[in-house]
Subunit: 111 residues, 2 copies
DNA sequence: TTGATAAATCTAAATATGTCAATACGTCGA
DNA sequence: TCGACGTATTGACATATTTAGATTTATCAA
């Protein structure tokens, strides 16, 4: 069949989407944020709400508020976190979609 | 115990090493190279030698020779490929170490 | 309504990255 | 030894990324 001419199993745009998820994971601050979210599904500072608020992540990373906001936007665009605003606070939690993409792809590159 | 003060399970330097592997994976050209290596353990253009030579990867990626060389250096530094020189040719193959690092870390961030 | 607070956006900076042309380096064959 | 060939390195350039200060927006409390 014709599509077999393109012998690579992943299309160009699929590779770009995957590369973007990997890029979101390529910063130590963002890895630290994700590890914190995975290990603290219940918020520490703002009560018993599910998720972690942005102010916590400033402490965890030692970065400024705008910088944390920037990182969260990147993680969100890669579907690695889900963000929800409740009142004045943003709450974050792990989004399984981004990592699922990666886990499905790893065998393609020998993993 | 004292070390428990640092409650994150991964140290700063471990996170940096992981981030570096993810960064090596964050480029579509490098993903394409890895996919090609995984799917062609036997060389196409230069006989029956195990591995893929650099000249093949110029064709696969459509990039110039120096650019491919640059990408291979990055993949190698992340332990994602093994490189071997035989005569005038460089042969590459998948190195399982880099991906193993990642696969071991994914559960830490909810994967 | 006003003031305070949490987060996003805008702006600017320093640094990093991807790319190729030119060149250098190794290796092989004649 | 010399020339050709495959790859690595260097230099240059355009673009992207990380970061924080200043400002804006949205929400709540008084």
């Amino acid at each position: 069949m014709i599509s077999a001419i393109h012998s690579e199993s992943a299309t160009e745009s699929q590779l770009e989407a995957l590369a973007w998820v990997f890029k979101a994971l390529s910063d130590p601050a963002r890895l630290k944020i994700l590890a914190h979210l995975a290990q603290h599904p219940i918020d520490l500072c703002c009560g018993t709400e599910p998720g972690v608020c942005a102010c916590d992540l400033e402490v965890v990373t030692g970065l400024s508020q705008p910088t944390v906001s920037h990182h969260m936007k990147i993680l969100s665009s890669a579907q690695l976190i889900q963000a929800e605003k409740r009142g004045r606070w943003m709450y974050y939690r792990i989004d399984p979609q981004g990592l699922s993409l990666i886990k499905a792809f790893l065998p393609t590159i020998g993993g």
